[in-house]
Symmetry: C2
Subunit: 152 residues, 2 copies
DNA sequence: TATATTTGAATCGTGCACGATTTAATCTTT
DNA sequence: AAAGATTAAATCGTGCACGATTCAAATATA
């Protein structure tokens, strides 16, 4: 028996392609985001602010599955770039409210080009629109299951 | 118009659930891997060694889509744990060959329990086996497309 | 109303990721 | 065989991720 452990093969795992695809996707986004002067995780935070406006650190974390230990330094970097404001709430001094500056709002126009360019760059791919949609559906279902599992 | 940019909504992205699902998956694995004394990326390196035996750093990188800037320090940590050996090749002194120590080989037995326990912990989930398989298929297809895209 | 508990951010330490560069070895080309 | 190009690891700096802890504020409970 040459190598009797197919359950350990890379190609039989779900975790590995998820990990690799996530990293490669980030790499695809990077050149477009460099034009906006932000990183990929910073882009995700900006997405939540463009979509839901002013929010607490906690709320951003719930949407992105991140906590303050990751978000606080990241938000400070966005603040240094003058894209966001961080203001401690008057009514509950534990919470910090994050909101867009004018510069941050303006960046949205440029950001709209990003998904367009990404989609364009996949026009020639061998994956059909339909397959992508069903994939995305399962992906969100999986995300839901994982989230429940993690918080058990 | 309240928020006219659905193409920027988190739920309409493919990148975001991929990123989040990958991170949450790693979190699910972590307690099981702690029992083996290794991290998730270290586990992936061990998987390649259990599956393909002795290999160069370059080869491991090709399988995991990682480069020496990530692998070299990670491999040094695995070496410190006495799970692997790093030996510069005699025939081509540029390459470093990575192989399992006896301890590293022995760890495979324990590692076999990991996928079992992961699968078990998903028995109650709302996703069917069939759906997972088709999802995995698309995931590998996507990985292929992304890899080509990145190296363009 | 004191005391205990919970909550939201921040801080700290470790380990990835990764672009860019460096170094040494090998391969190509003339 | 010498010069130039390529290759494989390593190194460096920055920015995440995240477990664990700390701190202050708010809430619950005795």
């Amino acid at each position: 028996m040459a190598n009797p452990a197919p359950e350990l093969y890379l190609e039989n795992q779900l975790c590995f392609p998820l990990y690799a695809a996530s990293r490669l996707t980030t790499k695809i986004y990077t050149p477009f985001l460099e034009a906006l002067g932000i990183t990929y995780p910073q882009y995700l935070v900006m997405l939540t602010l463009w979509q839901f406006q002013e929010q607490s650190v906690k709320s951003i974390g719930e949407r992105l599955f991140l906590e303050s230990n990751t978000l606080t330094p990241l938000l400070k970097r966005l603040e240094q770039k003058d894209l966001i404001q961080r203001i401690r709430s008057k009514t509950d001094e534990r919470t910090v409210m994050v909101s867009l500056t004018q510069t941050g709002m303006n960046l949205k126009e440029q950001a709209l080009e990003v998904p367009k360019k990404i989609v364009e760059s996949f026009h020639d791919s061998t994956i059909s629109e339909e397959e992508i949609l069903s994939f995305q559906k399962t992906l969100f279902k999986l995300l839901n299951v994982l989230d429940k599992k993690v918080s058990e």
